[in-house]
């Protein structure tokens, strides 16, 4: 049983980065190779897990031989695997990028353990099967993220990330109180059992609702849903580039993932259209406001950060549509579109931030209006920004194009046509802010004969953006199959 557990990809996804974190702490001089090794190992574990789930259906694992009511459980269904795969691939890209990013050995040594811890927390969060485990991972994620974000040590970074940390703590405590209420009511923490209990016990509606509100609003704080996004732009904009990428692409996404899980899985019996509509309205406001602020941002990374606020907003637009769509292909489409947009944003935003970091290191600043010459000097990076940008806008053939297509289709089919206006407005604003950056690449600055090339930094950015644009847009079919893998039973 133990050997079984040790080699189980589901477990390895979490233990390998933890092990890596321990090793890099113990041997700080070899942090980079060890870190890369851990990253590769973790990523391959995640891929193995993905293959496993693809072949055998949803997996579930109970650690320590306890009853499901008590135990620490891990589970991997299609949704979790899809997000975990994205997170691990992005994290691998970030790792490669980061291996060359930090010049200061002090920072480099601090980075790797924290980063691997964050990774472990991420994987744990996606794969956890019980509410408390989720809480622990959530906390770990929040703490490591804040610590990483403050890594540059600048005043802005520290104060922004201190705020982030406090927000995270507030959110987690709120979540924990919700968990406590649920346990009070149903006496179990296992996601599946709680869900059943909620569906079965109509009497406990008040407690369930209170728990739902506490958990969701706590997570909404962490997910930076408008207007609770106040902490995000300064925190993401001032972090080191690889950290910004991870924060924007993955960490925020983890909270959203949890909200979606709770809303659709756990609390489905008690969530109505009105509440979903309310969240979607906040999402719509996030789309418009975030995009507008991104358009007005003076710095490249601030732009990217506000763009994250907007992109998160899109995901909430799906809730009222899912609320009124009965199970069947249309609902599958909506769900897949939701995940597809989250995945695309993960890849695109990480690519964008990595490229922006490269621009910043080369130019010494990231003021958009003064980037002309830099864009000329870094063709590959500019190209990566262009690719990532078109995924953010939702231009074909990116994954978010398909996502938006299905979102609008669902909106029209369910009669909630007004979301179409939100989506189009958001897309227009997004194109405005993306091309505000890109137009700098076509200035009159003389083209240098020698381009700056830095494969270790450029290739991850380019590849991540490329995945967002080409792979997810043109071959998103398997996602449907993957998401269908929640009833288990295997292929």
């Amino acid at each position: 049983m133990y050997s079984n557990l040790l080699t189980d990809p589901l477990v390895l996804c979490i233990t390998l980065p933890l092990l890596g974190a321990a090793l890099t702490t113990a041997l700080p001089r070899h942090a980079v190779p060890l870190g890369i090794l851990a990253a590769l190992a973790t990523c391959s574990a995640a891929v193995t897990l993905g293959v496993d789930v693809w072949q055998h259906g949803a997996l579930r694992l109970v650690l320590g031989g306890w009853e499901p009511e008590l135990a620490i459980g891990l589970r991997a269904d299609g949704l979790a695997v899809a997000l975990a795969l994205m997170a691990n691939l992005v994290a691998l890209g970030i790792s490669v990028y980061a291996s060359g990013y930090f010049r200061d050995p002090e920072r480099m040594r601090a980075f790797w353990p924290l980063w691997l811890l964050l990774w472990a927390a991420l994987n744990g969060l996606f794969l956890a099967g019980d509410l408390f485990n989720l809480y622990v991972m959530l906390e770990l994620l929040g703490i490591t993220a804040a610590a990483l974000g403050a890594l540059t040590g600048s005043r802005e970074a520290v104060s922004a990330n201190l705020r982030y940390l406090l927000v995270g703590l507030l959110g987690s405590i709120s979540y924990l109180l919700g968990v406590a209420l649920l346990y009070t009511a149903h006496g179990t923490l296992d996601l599946g059992l709680v869900a059943r209990a909620i569906a079965a016990n109509d009497r406990l509606f008040a407690v369930d609702a209170a728990a739902l509100v506490l958990m969701v609003s706590g997570l909404a704080l962490k997910a930076a849903l408008f207007p609770l996004h106040f902490w995000l732009p300064p925190a993401h904009a001032n972090a080191p580039a690889p950290v910004s990428a991870a924060l924007s692409a993955l960490v925020v996404k983890a909270s959203v993932y949890l909200i979606i899980r709770l809303w659709l899985d756990l609390f489905a019996p008690i969530t109505g259209l009105a509440a979903a509509m309310f969240l979607a309205l906040l999402g719509a406001a996030a789309v418009v406001w975030g995009s507008w602020r991104a358009l007005r941002a003076e710095r490249l990374k601030l732009l990217a950060a506000y763009s994250t606020v907007a992109q998160i907003g899109y995901l909430f637009l799906f809730l009222p549509l899912l609320a009124v769509t009965p199970p069947g292909p249309p609902r599958d489409n909506l769900l897949a579109a939701l995940v597809l947009m989250a995945l695309t944003h993960g890849f695109a935003k990480s690519g964008f931030f990595l490229a922006a970091g490269l621009v910043q290191t080369n130019a010494g600043h990231d003021r958009i209006d003064d980037l002309g010459g830099t864009a000329q000097r870094l063709p590959a990076t500019t190209f990566a920004i262009a690719l990532a940008g078109s995924a953010l806008i939702g231009l074909p053939p990116s994954g978010s194009f398909i996502g938006k297509w299905l979102l609008m289709q669902g909106a029209i089919e369910s009669g909630q046509w007004w979301w179409v206006i939100v989506v189009t407005t958001g897309s227009l604003l997004a194109s405005a802010y993306v091309f505000r950056v890109l137009s700098r690449a076509f200035g009159l600055e003389p083209t240098p004969l020698k381009f700056v090339t830095d494969a270790r930094a450029e290739v991850p950015a380019l590849l991540l953006s490329l995945v967002a644009v080409a792979l997810l847009g043109l071959a998103s079919g398997p996602l449907w199959t993957l998401l269908a893998l929640r009833a288990g039973g295997g292929a």
Binding site: F132, R155, Y183
Partner: protein
């Protein structure tokens, strides 16, 4: 039973008070203390849940949760203090 409710209710009140303090008071230390009080409130609730009657062994799960929660809270507080201290250093220097 009433004791359980009292205990749990007090936990909730602690949570709300902590929240109030967290939001209203600007200094970092007060915020951290407030957060810990909120956490304490939640732990109270969990401990109250664990009670299964006199003489009956309490439910171990909430206990485990509380223990873990305390660890997490401590580490988070530590990190916040470190960051706060750095901020203060810089403010002094600047």
């Amino acid at each position: 039973m009433t004791a359980q409710f009292l205990y749990g209710g007090a936990g909730l009140i602690l949570f709300v008070l902590g929240l109030w303090s967290f939001l209203v008071h600007a200094p970092l230390l007060r915020k951290l203390i407030a957060l810990n009080i909120m956490g304490g409130g939640v732990f109270h609730v969990l401990i109250a849940v664990a009670y299964r009657g006199d003489g009956v062994t309490p439910d171990p799960v909430p206990h485990a949760l509380v223990l873990t929660g305390i660890v997490v809270a401590v580490s988070a507080t530590a990190l916040a203090l470190v960051l706060g201290a750095r901020l203060q250093d810089e403010q002094r220097q600047g």
